[in-house]
Symmetry: C2
Subunit: 221 residues, 2 copies
Amino acid sequence: MRTEVTSRVSRRSGVLEFAVLGLLREAPMHGYELRKRLNTSLGVFRAFSYGSLYPCLKALVQQGWLAEESGRAPDDPRATSLTNRRAKIVYRLTAEGKERFEELLAQTGPDAWEDEHFGVRFAFFGQTSRDVRMRVLEGRRSRLEERLAKMRASMARTREKLDAYTLELQRHGMESVEREVRWLNELIESEREGQDQREQRGPGSARERARPDDPSDDRTI
Amino acid sequence: MRTEVTSRVSRRSGVLEFAVLGLLREAPMHGYELRKRLNTSLGVFRAFSYGSLYPCLKALVQQGWLAEESGRAPDDPRATSLTNRRAKIVYRLTAEGKERFEELLAQTGPDAWEDEHFGVRFAFFGQTSRDVRMRVLEGRRSRLEERLAKMRASMARTREKLDAYTLELQRHGMESVEREVRWLNELIESEREGQDQREQRGPGSARERARPDDPSDDRTI
DNA sequence: TGGCGATGTATCGAGCTGATACATCGGTTC
DNA sequence: GAACCGATGTATCAGCTCGATACATCGCCA
């Protein structure tokens, strides 16, 4: 299988590439801001370091998917001052880059739903067709169910031999996975419902919207 | 701060070192089996590769914490046969190694409850005093609460600007953390209860033991 | 004026992973 | 019985990633 392998910038993972292209699709940015976005908007799950980001940006430029621009407008008088304005490199998505991102967005194989990729893929679901969304969600679900099966088998095999804490750890791990499966079920259900009568409601409609009764939802610290 | 830094085998993380010492405390083993244990008993969360394990074992031997032994008993006639029996290296914990592990077990600082370490630390809770367990559990809990605060603040700041899927992703991420906090609360409560009348019940007593009504608990696949 | 934290680009050592190589063992299949 | 194959077992490597750090400027407040 594995029909959708094309050359990648960083061969392994390629998740950074995807995220960068996706973020730049919305607006040009420089490295520092990209990293901030990466670690907040998408982040929580993954954190990327400069040591990964800058080389990645370079590679993407070389591929022709990004273009560099000076941060200062050319008519800015300060641009030629004695201090030799620090270069603030703004990256912009090229037409080829947009195409590339589109191509990556359309992928629905393991590269879309394995652990390292799924979170970022999900964050860009808004730019995908429901068809692709469904395939990715279902792919991930079956992946997790497979994992659950392995965990259950392993636990049944070793239950007696393990100490109470190890067992508790495994139980908790399994419940985490089970919880994600439930989440996926809700999302899939929600996608199915929204078949025709969607009014930009997004994926949250199947849930009762967290804590509708708690006024201090945000800003609690 | 950081008073408990001592020299480590692999400086970064050191989690492999800890796990290896802990597993070998129970019984001598060779690399292959160690790795299997690492990725099942403790695993699920973390997975270690040979590329990490073998160098680590070497370093631990050099430190004098492990001793190598030939897998074949010296009186095994096959040991000198023409095929030159493949070396099956069994590792055994030395007295110094046992001491070292004890030392690591007693640590209750960030190195015990940060993401990379906590899982493995927890798996060896059975060999620790309740005092240490409490400190580690509470340390982790406060770490997670700190993270929650950051996430909430970040969400409050960016709520309007984010697309529905990104928002849903963040919501789910936050609930995951909240869930782990609840788990920690149960564990801490359970440790407190067991103050005197513990009868080897382990940490699960605060929970109702998963699915007492489901006979197909294991072996469902 | 001077300090300081946020912004900004960039690199490096060290560590880790996935892939792979190599070899033996035990069991099944034709 | 021989050919095969998956599990056992040790070991290495290229490539990728991270945390730390260096360096410099900006905006702001005292």
